[in-house]
């Protein structure tokens, strides 16, 4: 594969399941537990990277909405009639974290990224709180955008995490 300049090395990848919502504090703690220090406070992302190599950094946050789309067939009756209090995320451990890690590695390599970190909540996350963070760093924007879309699509297929509504 013809990788962009600056990505000859294997991408740096981090993936973790974190209990509760992804506050800035829990995110920082999780990154540091895995030996990562943020490159810059803005993106709060990767392990030490050669300065000047990253040209695009994208941070995606999934946030719990008050009106959750009903996707589970058995909940048909409750369709969008009530407001959510929270989502309860159930993970099949340790397959969920391993799956998140495998997906992270795969997407980072396929798109020639410099770094990718993915954090997902387990347990209760209230409306307005963050349940998923994906940070991607690459030489140019095209691969960062493509990697992000690719990752999120695959996450919903291959990583054993389920969400349950907690009604108000």
């Amino acid at each position: 594969m013809n990788l962009p300049a600056g990505t000859q090395h294997a991408p740096r990848v981090l993936a973790a399941i974190v209990d509760g919502s992804l506050t800035r504090e829990r995110e920082a703690m999780s990154l540091s537990q895995h030996g990562w220090t943020p490159v810059r406070d803005t993106s709060g992302s990767a392990a030490p990277s050669t300065p000047g190599v990253v040209g695009a950094a994208i941070r995606f946050e999934g946030i719990v909405r008050r009106k959750e789309l009903q996707t589970e067939p058995h909940e048909e009756g409750a369709k969008c009639e009530q407001d959510l209090l929270a989502l309860e995320y159930q993970t099949y451990d340790p397959m969920a974290e391993r799956g998140l890690m495998a997906l992270s590695r795969e997407v980072a390599e396929r798109h020639g990224l410099i770094a990718l970190s993915a954090l997902h909540s387990r347990g209760r996350v209230h409306v307005g709180e963050v349940s998923f963070v994906l940070i991607v760093e690459s030489a140019h924007r095209a691969e960062a955008l493509a990697a992000m879309a690719d990752f999120i699509d695959r996450l919903k297929q291959d990583v054993p995490i389920w969400k349950f509504p907690v009604w108000r």
Binding site: T71, Y89, W162
Partner: protein, 90 residues
């Protein structure tokens, strides 16, 4: 023999339990276990993939088709089997 299959998400809600048991013979394949789930747990139908192409998690890794499954308790060398479908993280 009896094989225990872990279930999650919508399947667990529908079945009001986190695991179901299927009657299988010997060491079945993934395909055979999926077929047994279809036959013996019709309430899970909405969550079950077709036996020919569907997958299960066997010892926490995806497996399909002819992959053999060893029934029995984990402590006695049995496989951990889980139905992983309709995931919805993120």
């Amino acid at each position: 023999m009896q094989l225990e299959v872990l279930i999650f998400g919508g399947a667990a809600l529908a079945a009001k339990t986190d695991r179901v048991t299927v009657e299988v013979s010997g060491a079945p394949t993934v395909r055979e276990v999926l077929a047994a789930l279809h036959a013996q747990h019709p309430a899970l139908k909405f969550a079950l993939p077709p036996p020919e192409t569907g997958r299960l998690a066997v010892n926490q890794a995806f497996a399909k088709g002819e992959r053999l499954i060893v029934p029995g308790p984990l402590e006695q060398g049995g496989d951990e089997v889980a139905l992983i479908t309709l995931v919805g993280g993120g």
